[in-house]
C-alpha cells in the first residue's frame, strides 16, 4: 500500500510539473528564417483550385517582394487542415467548409473570401433513375431535377460536415424534404465515387469538382448543385489567432502578395490555365485533363484587389454555420465567436494605397 502511495504521489508531482511547464499562456511563435532570408510563414494548402495563387506567389517571387518566405504544408481536405490549425501547425491558408470548425473552435480569424464565383459541387444521379426522369418540378430552381415522390426514401451518399452534406440537405429542403426523408450515408469523397460507380446509392453529393465532372463525363446526370440551388460556394482565407495577433504586418504583406497573384490570374485566362495546370502537376494530381482544367477555370473566379473591398467578407461562412446551428449540429454560441473572428481590417490594410 505504501508503495502505491509513493507511485501515486510521484505521478501527481509529475503531472503538476508537466502541467505548469506546458500550461497555456500568451505564447508568441518565433518565426523561422526562410531560404530567401525573410521570416517564414507556414501556409496551409490543399491540392485544389483555391491554393493556385500560392503557385503564382512562388513563381513570380511575390514572397520575396513583400518580405516573407513560404513553407507550404499540404492537407488532403479541410477537416485535417482545421485540426492542424487547432494544433498550431500552420499560420495562414485558404480553406473551404473546414473553416466552420477552425473559426469557432480554434479561434482562427477569417480575413478574406477567396472566390467571388464558384461551381462544381454537384449532386449526381444515374441516367435511368426516376429522379432524372421526373425532370424539373421546381419553378424557382430551373436547373434542379427530381420530385418529392421520386426523392423520398432514396439513398444519398455524402460526407457529413463538409460542403457535400450542406449541399445535399439544401437540395432536399428545396423540395420541402429533410434528412429523415431519405437515407443519408456518410462516406469520404473517394469512397462516394467508388461506391456510386459500383452501383450503390441513388444520389452522390460531391464537393470535389474533379470527381463530379468525372461522373458527368461517364454519363451520370447532374440533378443539383450549390450554384444551381442559388447557394454560394466559396472558400475563405484563415489566419491563426497567434499569427494574427503577433505578426499582423506579415499577415497584411501576405495578403498583398495574394491579391497581386489573384489579379494576374483573373486578368489572363491563358495564364490562369497554365498556372492551374502547373500547380496540379506539382502537387501530383492526375485526375485532370486539359478540358477539366479549362472547365474549372471557367467555373471559378478569384476575389481580387477590385472585388475584395466590395465583398461582404465572411457572409458565406456565416450562412454555412447558421445552417448547422439551425439543424442542431453546432452550438448557438459559435455564431458569436464567428462574428468576432471575421476580420476585414487585413484586406483593407493590404489594399490601402
Amino acid at each position: 500500500m505504501n508503495k502505491m502511495k509513493k507511485v501515486m504521489t510521484t505521478l501527481l508531482i509529475a503531472t503538476l510539473t508537466v502541467g505548469s511547464v506546458f500550461a497555456q499562456g500568451s505564447k508568441e511563435t518565433k518565426l523561422k528564417v526562410g531560404e530567401n532570408g525573410n521570416p517564414e510563414i507556414r501556409i496551409g494548402a490543399m491540392a485544389y483550385y483555391l491554393s493556385v495563387p500560392l503557385q503564382v506567389i512562388k513563381d513570380e517571387g511575390l514572397d520575396n517582394k513583400y518580405g516573407f518566405a513560404m513553407d507550404i504544408i499540404d492537407f488532403p481536405s479541410g477537416g485535417p487542415m482545421a485540426e492542424a490549425l487547432g494544433a498550431g501547425d500552420w499560420d495562414i491558408g485558404p480553406i473551404g467548409a473546414g473553416g466552420m470548425v477552425a473559426i469557432p473552435r480554434y479561434n482562427a480569424k477569417l480575413i478574406a473570401d477567396v472566390e467571388t464565383k464558384m461551381d462544381g459541387a454537384w449532386i449526381l444521379a444515374r441516367p435511368d433513375s426516376d429522379i432524372v426522369k421526373a425532370g424539373n418540378t421546381l419553378a424557382n430552381y430551373p436547373d434542379l431535377l427530381g420530385s418529392v415522390a421520386t426523392l423520398e426514401d432514396k439513398t444519398m451518399l455524402g460526407t457529413i460536415g463538409n460542403i457535400s452534406h450542406y449541399m445535399g440537405l439544401d437540395y432536399l429542403s428545396d423540395f420541402g424534404l429533410g434528412m429523415d426523408d431519405i437515407n443519408f450515408i456518410h462516406m469520404e469523397t473517394a469512397q462516394i465515387y467508388t461506391a456510386f460507380v459500383a452501383g450503390n446509392g441513388d444520389l452522390a453529393c460531391l464537393g470535389s469538382p474533379s470527381a463530379a465532372m468525372k461522373l458527368v463525363k461517364q454519363g451520370y446526370v447532374r440533378v443539383g448543385g450549390l450554384t444551381q440551388q442559388n447557394k454560394s460556394q466559396q472558400d475563405a482565407m484563415l489566419v491563426s489567432d497567434d499569427f494574427y495577433t503577433n505578426h499582423y504586418d506579415l499577415t497584411v504583406n501576405f495578403m498583398k502578395a495574394w491579391y497581386e497573384a489573384c489579379d494576374k490570374l483573373n486578368a489572363d485566362p491563358a495564364y490562369e490555365f497554365a498556372k492551374v495546370k502547373k500547380f496540379y502537376g506539382e502537387v501530383g494530381r492526375t485526375d485532370f485533363d486539359d478540358n477539366g482544367i479549362q472547365q474549372e477555370c471557367d467555373f471559378n473566379t478569384y476575389t481580387d484587389s477590385t472585388t475584395a473591398l466590395t465583398n461582404n467578407t465572411g457572409e458565406w461562412m456565416k450562412g454555412l454555420i447558421q445552417f448547422y446551428v439551425d439543424n442542431g449540429s453546432m452550438d448557438k454560441s459559435v455564431i458569436d465567436t464567428l462574428k468576432t473572428n471575421i476580420k476585414s481590417d487585413v484586406v483593407k490594410a493590404a489594399l490601402s494605397k
Binding site: M4, F22, Q24, A87, H186, M187, A190, Q191, A195, N327
Partner: protein, 261 residues
Amino acid sequence: MKKIKVNKNKYTVIMVVNIMVVIFIWYLLSDVFKVFRNGMLPGPVDIVKTFIYKLTNTAPGGNTLGGHIAASMIVVVTGYIIGVGVGLPVGILMAWYKPIDYLVRPVFDFLRCIPGLAWIPVITVWLGIDLKAKAMIIFISVFVGIVVNVYSGIKQTDEVKIWVAQIFGASRWEVLKRVALPSALPYIFTGLKVSLGMAWLGIIAAELLAAQSGLGYMIMVARNFGRADLVIVGMLTIGLIGAFLTWIIELIEKKFVKGRR
C-alpha cells in the same frame, strides 16, 4: 480463503484509486493547466455532460448514443460470430492436419498482414455499403486473431500427452477432442478476447466505409464538427463496451478452463 478475499478487496481499492487518480490528472491537465489549446482536451465534467446530453439528443449525426451503440453492436456481433465460427475450425484444421497447413498457411500469412482499413475500397465494390460489407471488415480482423491463437494453442499441446493417448488406442480425432483442444482452451479464449478487441477496432474502419449510425460514425461526425467532447464520449463508450464483453468472455473462460479462478 480469508487471505484471498482480503487480497481481492485490496486490489479493488487499488483499481478504484487508480481510476480516480487518472481522472484527477485528466482534470488537472484539461481544466486547471489547460495544457491542450482551444479546448482540444475537454475535462471530465464536460464529458459527463455530453454523455448525458447524447443519451436523449440526436444531433449531430441523427441518432442518440443508445442508437449508435445498437447499430455498432449489430455490426460487431455479426462480424465477430462469423469470424469466430469460421476461424475456429480453420485454425484447428491448420494445426492438426499438415496438408491443410501447407495449403492454407501461405495465403493466410499473406492475408493477415493486410489491415481491415485497406480492404475498404475493394469491399465497397464487391459487397456494396450495407451490413454485410461492414461485417466483412470485422470478420477479417476477428478471423485472423482467432486462427493465430487456435493454431498456436493446438501446436503447443504436450507431445507426451498425445503419445499417452495414442498408446491407449485413441484415434486421431479422439486425441484432438480429448487432448489437444482442452489443452488449447486458454489460447482459444485469449484469441476470443484479442479478436473482440480487434472487432471494436475494426468498427471505426467499417463505419468509415459507409454509415448512417454507429459509434465509429458518431466519432467521425463529431470530428468533422470539431466536437472533441463527443469524440471522447464515443471512445469511452467503445472502451466500456469492449471491457464489458471481455468480462463476459472471462466468466465463460472460468467455467470451461481448468485452473482459472
